[in-house]
C-alpha cells in the first residue's frame, strides 16, 4: 500500500433520493469505513443536496449528491467501485484524478479541509429548493481565488496540473449552490408556488439576460466594420 503511488482523487456518488434514509447512512458509513481501512486520507466531503437529475435513471428523477476528495492509491478505487456497483441505491458514481504523485506527508490538507455532516432524514425531506440540476443554474462569473496563476498553454494539455487547480475546483461546487441560493432569494415569491410552475419563469428570465452580453460584445466590432466601409 505504502509502496503504491498516491494520487489525489475526487468522487461523486449519486444515490436515489427516495431510498430509505437508513440505507443512505449505511452506504456513507460503509464508504468512509472502507476509506479508513485502506488508509485513505480524506480531504473534503460535501453534501450537495437533493437535485433533480437531468434525465431519468432507473426510474428516479431526483438524486442525492455526495462529493468526496481524498488522497489514495489506485487499489482503493477498485474496492470502492466494487462496493458502489453492488449497492442498490447508487445511481451513478464517478472518480476523477485531480493530481498525480502526491506526497501525503507534505500535502497541505488544511487549506481545503471541509467535512459536511450527513443530512438528517428531515433535512432530506425538506430539501426541495435545490431541485434544479446544475444545468438550470446560471453561470456565476465570480472570479475565483488562486486560479489566475495558471497561464501558459503548455501546462494544462495532458494532465490536471498544479496545485492551484484542485483548490479552485473544490471551491466551485460551493459556488454553484451559492448561485442557486441567491437566485432562490430573489425569486422567493415565485418559488412559493409549486415548483413546476415557478421554474420555467425563473429560467426564462436569466436566459434573456445572458444574451445582451454576447450582443454587447458583438456590437462594437460591427460598428467598426460599418465605419470602415463608409
Amino acid at each position: 500500500m505504502s509502496e503504491e503511488r498516491i494520487r489525489k482523487y475526487e468522487t461523486i456518488v449519486v444515490t436515489r433520493s427516495d431510498a430509505d434514509h437508513g440505507a443512505q447512512r449505511k452506504l456513507h458509513e460503509k464508504l468512509t469505513g472502507l476509506m479508513e481501512e485502506s488508509g485513505v486520507r480524506p480531504i473534503r466531503f460535501e453534501y450537495w443536496g437533493k437535485r433533480r437529475l437531468a434525465y431519468q435513471i432507473k426510474k428516479a428523477n431526483k438524486g442525492l449528491y455526495f462529493y468526496h476528495t481524498y488522497l489514495s492509491s489506485s487499489s482503493f478505487l477498485a474496492e470502492m467501485n466494487r462496493m458502489l456497483k453492488l449497492s442498490n441505491i447508487v445511481l451513478r458514481y464517478m472518480t476523477v484524478m485531480l493530481k498525480d504523485g502526491v506526497n501525503p506527508d507534505t500535502y497541505d490538507f488544511e487549506s481545503e479541509q471541509h467535512f459536511d455532516t450527513l443530512p438528517t432524514e428531515s433535512d432530506v425531506k425538506k430539501d426541495r429548493d435545490r431541485s434544479r440540476t446544475g444545468w438550470d443554474e446560471e453561470f456565476s462569473s465570480k472570479p475565483k481565488a488562486d486560479e489566475g496563476a495558471e497561464a501558459p498553454p503548455k501546462d494544462g494539455d495532458a494532465a490536471p496540473d498544479a496545485s492551484e487547480k484542485p483548490a479552485g475546483e473544490s471551491d466551485e461546487p460551493g459556488a454553484v449552490t451559492e448561485a442557486a441560493e441567491a437566485e432562490g432569494e430573489t425569486k422567493a415569491q415565485e418559488k412559493a408556488e409549486p415548483e413546476a410552475k415557478a421554474e420555467p419563469e425563473a429560467k426564462a428570465e436569466p436566459e434573456v439576460k445572458t444574451e445582451p452580453e454576447t450582443e454587447a460584445a458583438a456590437e462594437p466590432n460591427a460598428d467598426k466594420n460599418a465605419e470602415e466601409e463608409e
Binding site: 449519486v14 451513478r92 440540476t133 444545468w135 475565483k144 466551485e172 436566459e207 460591427a222 466601409e229
Partner: protein, 89 residues
C-alpha cells in the same frame, strides 16, 4: 424557444470580412471549465444539449477538448442532459 425568435430578428446582412472569434476561456483566465458546474458552459451547448462545434463557438482547440470532456462527465452524472428532445429542460 425565445432564443430562436431573437436570432431571426438579429439576422442582418453583414458585409466585410467575418469577425474574428476569440476563445472566451483564453481571454478570461479565471474561468475554468469544470464539469461540476455545467451552467458555466451552457453557452457552448445547444438547447438540446449538443456540444457546439468550435467553428461556430470560436473556442480554441485546447479548450474545446476540455469542454468536451467536461460535458461528457456532467452528462454521466445527470448534471446535464444527453439530449432534451422531449421536454424543454
Amino acid at each position: 424557444m425565445r432564443r430562436k425568435d431573437d436570432d431571426k430578428k438579429k439576422k442582418k446582412k453583414r458585409r466585410g470580412p467575418p469577425r474574428r472569434k476569440v476563445c472566451s476561456f483564453c481571454t478570461d483566465k479565471n474561468a475554468k471549465l469544470d464539469y461540476k458546474n455545467p451552467a458555466m458552459f451552457k453557452r457552448f451547448v445547444t438547447e438540446r444539449g449538443k456540444i457546439v462545434p468550435r467553428r461556430i463557438s470560436g473556442m480554441c482547440a485546447k479548450h474545446q477538448r476540455e469542454l468536451c470532456r467536461a460535458v461528457k462527465r456532467a452528462r454521466h452524472l445527470a448534471l446535464m442532459p444527453y439530449t432534451s428532445a422531449g421536454s424543454a429542460g
